[in-house]
Symmetry: C2
Subunit: 260 residues, 2 copies
Amino acid sequence: MKVFIVYAHPESKSFNGSFLNATVKHLESRGNEVRVSDLYQENFKAIVDASDFLNHNPEERLQVVTASFLANKEDKLTADVKKAQENLKWADLVVLQFPLWWFSMPAIMKGWVERVFSCGFGYGVGEHSDKRWGDRYGEGMLAGKRAILAITVGGWVSHYSARGINGPIEDLLFPITHGVLNYIGMTAMPSHITYRTDGANEDKFGETTHEWFQKLDTIETANPIPYRKQNFGDYEIPSLELKAGLEKPGQLGFALARQE
Amino acid sequence: MKVFIVYAHPESKSFNGSFLNATVKHLESRGNEVRVSDLYQENFKAIVDASDFLNHNPEERLQVVTASFLANKEDKLTADVKKAQENLKWADLVVLQFPLWWFSMPAIMKGWVERVFSCGFGYGVGEHSDKRWGDRYGEGMLAGKRAILAITVGGWVSHYSARGINGPIEDLLFPITHGVLNYIGMTAMPSHITYRTDGANEDKFGETTHEWFQKLDTIETANPIPYRKQNFGDYEIPSLELKAGLEKPGQLGFALARQE
């Protein structure tokens, strides 16, 4: 398969750097094609501004959605963004690899999401009307591709458990797995998480990469996170609220997005 | 009171820009002192890297937590970060104002969080042992100050409701209100949210600012989000799991962090 890894860490001689190198080596040894975008090394521009839209008149008020839509439509996005979009279209599997900082992705990767998923590519795709609210949440330009997060966390697994003080890790990652990956149409797989990375030794590295490689080797047939699709009858339109009675007893909040 | 507003939007002639100006005018008219950090206008550096730590030897491997700790301790953080920390220490109320992009804060503000909340200031504060896991979640350098998010959202309120497709807005914001504001010791207030901002007219602007100003005028005595504190008996230490029986029947996930 074709794998596109988007990677964000400022130090190549880090746990994350070693994890990336081992991942590429493993994937290639199994006959996969791999492309890597190392956002720090590329000095990827992290913020959205008027210079992202080459057909935008800098004298005029910037309306981000409109400017993004017009740049996308008229092929006036910047070269770095177009290259990332090409890599996404090329890939069968997209991996976002990063350390969890303040319970989310590093700013440089957040900026990558904001810039690369332009209007007409990542959002604002398809018919928007009283009957259909766009091609998103299971549909869109990248539908059919699989995507997974590979993250490192400083704290303990219990701190991120069902009763952990930080909140359950699956819920902390929901704005990304559901709000980004599933939103743009990709099939989100359960995240790979390495806890207590600071001070991790070789044994720990060996354990987590062993588990990770097994996931990668079977990812084409493994079960994804069972997120509901938007336009297949589960939601009222245009209110986009889950229809009554579809949830299991006791399900609340983010769990309602899961069809299980 | 002293109010520090951190603001992230690339266009001053936007809904957010007008909202900021109206907020400053209102607060000052009521006798408050106001400081604003306009991250886009300041061209605030959005990414964490080795150059953030002036006593870090660039030849050596960067370990972010260690480098941040040492720079914090030896007064070797950069001038922009030190200025932000001074403003935070000065303030009684901190406002983070931004458009919700991809269900989180814009990258430039995420980078502000990553850089300003250095080790020894925002995290890694106080004793870390088997008995006490740092001064965080209700304690820390900024304890006693109040903080609130003022955000704009493109979608409809129903899309962010209890059964909405995007997930409940309070849960989407939990990594910020709980994981940043409460983590560093501040008292998080219920967020102010303006929906369907794109194409909003003057009536809508008047309505939301009217409601916002009322919140600001009463914020010193209003009820905060009732997040539990870490070190006052509710959590097992060091597993940091909520002790059995403290939750209400049916409470799960992020709701367990609320004492109600």
